[in-house]
């Protein structure tokens, strides 16, 4: 089951390598794409980030928020390849996923384009510093 990438916020060429599981990845030294399930520890990938081009973060249920932490952990460790949300990705998750460093979206059920665009554009400002590089409100209040 491979869903199409519907939204992508990167300039490099899309990665189409098939993703392997985190367990299998440890054995396959030539794999360049991996899929992180909610129960996986994304930190197991940190020693191998330089050979990864794509990390899929799976959201089997939109109510399970572990993938947000996984994405941020990967970005905080300096991963600059594609992090793609797959699974039950819905309109109202999009802006939060972006904030956690997810930069490609392959929802299992395609989303309404206009609604999705509105969701991506929703928040002109943000309260927290995260891995997305946006300047939080507190930084704007106190310019260095």
């Amino acid at each position: 089951m491979m869903s199409e990438v519907q939204f992508r916020f990167r300039d490099d060429d899309p990665v189409s390598d098939p993703a392997v599981t985190v367990d299998a990845f440890a054995e396959q030294t030539n794999a360049t794409a991996v899929r992180v399930e909610p129960g996986d520890d994304a930190r197991e990938l940190l020693p191998h980030l330089d050979r990864l081009r794509l990390i899929e973060v799976n959201f089997p249920a939109f109510t399970d928020g572990r993938g947000y932490s996984s994405a941020r952990v990967l970005r905080e460790a300096g991963f600059d390849g594609e992090i793609r949300a797959v699974g039950e990705v819905t309109i109202d998750m999009l802006s939060h996923m972006r904030r956690c460093g997810i930069d490609a979206f392959a929802p299992e059920k395609a989303l309404n384009e206009a609604d999705a665009q509105a969701a991506f554009d929703r928040w002109a400002d943000v309260y927290q510093a995260t891995a997305d590089g946006r300047q939080p409100i507190w930084a704007k209040r106190h310019p260095a």
Binding site: R66, A124, V126, T130, I137, W138, H142
Partner: protein
């Protein structure tokens, strides 16, 4: 009190637009009810037994009179003319229409209020000491730290689908008036040996079906690491909290199963990592927030004399007022527990009256307490009698704070879709039964929940009552010995439960044991702790 700047206002306004759009997609069917549910919950909207219920946030329980007036107007315009103040210092409306909710949120935003994250599996409204900024016994005002946490936790992208709800309380005095250690995170602002202010973290407390008192996981977090440490606590929970069983999903279970030491070790490791990520607001931001919490312009040199010749006034002063840090001032609490009334309810007219009185007699400020009452935090003693007369004329002068009549009760089966039994009628019967003996019994915290989710805090009551369903009939279990103060303890069940009238009789028997056995000026709780459960069991079941 805190005032929104353009950024804060824009965040709340944006949220209103987002929710308007979500409601539109729900009404067109683009969103299923299953998909819509967590979205509406994170805007405080529940689907209850008879209608939608909207829970409005009152951050750290502080309200201006303009905000209070709006709460009254909303009760009239969109509900049935009353509102219900809750144990988390919020207010909820029980008869709301889905289509009108975006407009209610817009009305709230016009007075810098919202319903953001008052429900759902996210970080909820931050609660605090209702006497913050006024109490004679506090180290500092805890609210600036609560406001810093409010902004951090609002729309935090990583923590909007936690395993379960997450409640944070911040206090700054040893007298805990916020049940701090019964929160997912309880923070006490403290001063260390070097004279610096910092935050002591307790993690993993909670009520519900598995009540636990939160252990201390860090004695002192410096102020310039407060957000970073909180983030570490939350991240460990988001990654490793149980998601296989919603009844085991609160952080208290994670802390319990890992053990406090292992949980703490994981948090410290995450914390060390996050310190390098630049996520902490500068101290200048805390200083900016603090400016909004400076003392109002108290008059100095005022007398502390009060004319107590009116006996009704005297009783109210003794029961419902508390020492203020400023000479000549007092903290006055309005009990929303009239005899036979619904705990925490107020009519729209009463809400607006309290707004006017706060404007005239309390520097424009009110507080909601976790015991479901309303506080005027800064009343000049010279004005107190006038204030009391005006409250009295509006049936708001019940003198029963911290007595058996000052009952905490959840909405129960009269409203709530989770409840197993009614709570409100039990509260009404108890307040009627004991009105004559209330002074003799003295300090008593009686708390009633209509199911094991414990919204009525029954575990923390000197006397607790838990409604259950027993073979299709409402049945009430009695607990004794709980407390939520600095001496937090969990109540113990006495034995088999009682029916609706039986539970009121059982409470009476328990108070009779206390009155017969008490020594000196012992409270019910003290006597129970000294003599134990056995004499009470004997009287109840012997």
């Amino acid at each position: 009190m805190y005032k929104y700047d353009n950024y804060d206002q824009q965040m709340v306004d944006t949220r209103v637009e987002e929710f308007r759009d979500q409601v539109r997609r729900r009404l067109t069917g683009e969103l299923s009810e299953e998909q819509f549910r967590p979205l509406r919950l994170q805007n405080g909207l529940y689907l209850q037994l008879h209608a939608y219920m909207l829970r409005v946030a009152v951050p750290y329980g502080t309200l201006s009179s303009a905000q209070m007036r709006m709460l009254g107007d909303i009760a009239d315009k969109y509900d049935r003319g009353y509102g219900h103040f809750t144990t988390r210092q919020n207010i909820q409306y029980n008869w709301i229409k889905l289509e009108e909710t975006p407009q209610i949120l817009a009305d709230l935003a016009s007075v810098e209020m919202h319903a953001i994250q008052t429900s759902g599996n996210c970080i909820r409204n931050i609660s605090s000491d209702q006497y913050a900024g006024a109490a004679a016994d506090e180290l500092i005002d805890p609210r600036p730290y609560a406001e810093l946490l409010r902004q951090w936790s609002s729309f935090h992208p990583e923590f909007l689908t936690l395993p379960r709800k997450f409640k944070i309380a911040v206090i700054a005095s040893d007298t805990d008036r916020a049940a701090m250690r019964l929160h997912d995170i309880g923070i006490q602002m403290v001063r260390n040996d070097a004279g610096e202010i910092g935050a002591r973290f307790y993690v993993g407390g909670g009520m519900g079906r598995t009540p636990m008192i939160g252990p201390m996981v860090r004695e002192f977090v410096p102020l310039d690491q407060l957000i970073t440490y909180s983030e570490a606590c939350l991240r460990v929970y988001n990654r490793y909290g149980r998601r296989d069983n919603k009844y085991k999903a609160r952080i208290k279970i994670l802390v319990h199963e890992l053990g406090k030491d292992e949980y703490t070790r994981q948090v410290e490791e995450e914390f060390q990592h996050l310190l390098s990520q630049g996520i902490e607001p500068p101290i200048a931001e805390l200083e900016r927030i603090k400016q909004y919490f400076v003392d109002p312009a108290f008059e100095t040199g005022l007398s502390d004399e009060l004319d107590l010749s009116d006996p009704d006034f005297r009783l109210w002063v003794e029961r419902n007022t508390e020492a203020h840090k400023q000479a000549g001032y007092v903290i006055a609490t309005v009990s929303l527990k009239p005899v036979g009334g619904i705990p925490g309810d107020a009519t729209a007219d009463q809400i607006r009256l309290m707004a006017d009185l706060a404007r005239d007699y309390s520097f424009d400020e009110l507080r909601v307490t976790h015991a479901q009452n309303i506080v005027f935090p800064h009343v000049k003693k010279a004005d107190l009698y006038t204030l009391w007369q005006k409250l009295d004329a509006a049936e708001l002068s019940t003198a029963n704070l911290d007595t058996i009549g000052d009952i905490i009760a959840c909405p129960g089966l009269d409203y709530c879709s989770l409840a197993n039994a009614r709570s409100i009628p039990i509260a009404q019967k108890i307040s009627e039964r004991f009105v004559a003996k209330q002074e003799e019994i003295g300090e008593m915290k009686l708390k009633i929940s209509g199911c094991i989710n414990a919204c009525g805090h029954h575990h923390a009551g000197h006397i607790g009552i838990l409604g259950v369903d027993r073979k299709g009939k409402e049945n009430y279990q009695l607990l004794l010995g709980g407390s939520e103060g600095a001496d937090t303890s969990l109540g113990q069940i006495t034995g088999p439960g009682f029916d609706e009238d039986g539970i009121v009789d059982a409470v009476e028997k328990a108070t009779e044991v206390y009155l017969a056995k008490r020594e000196g000026d012992e409270r019910f709780l003290d006597t129970y702790r000294r003599i134990g459960m056995a004499p009470f069991k004997e009287a109840l079941y012997g």
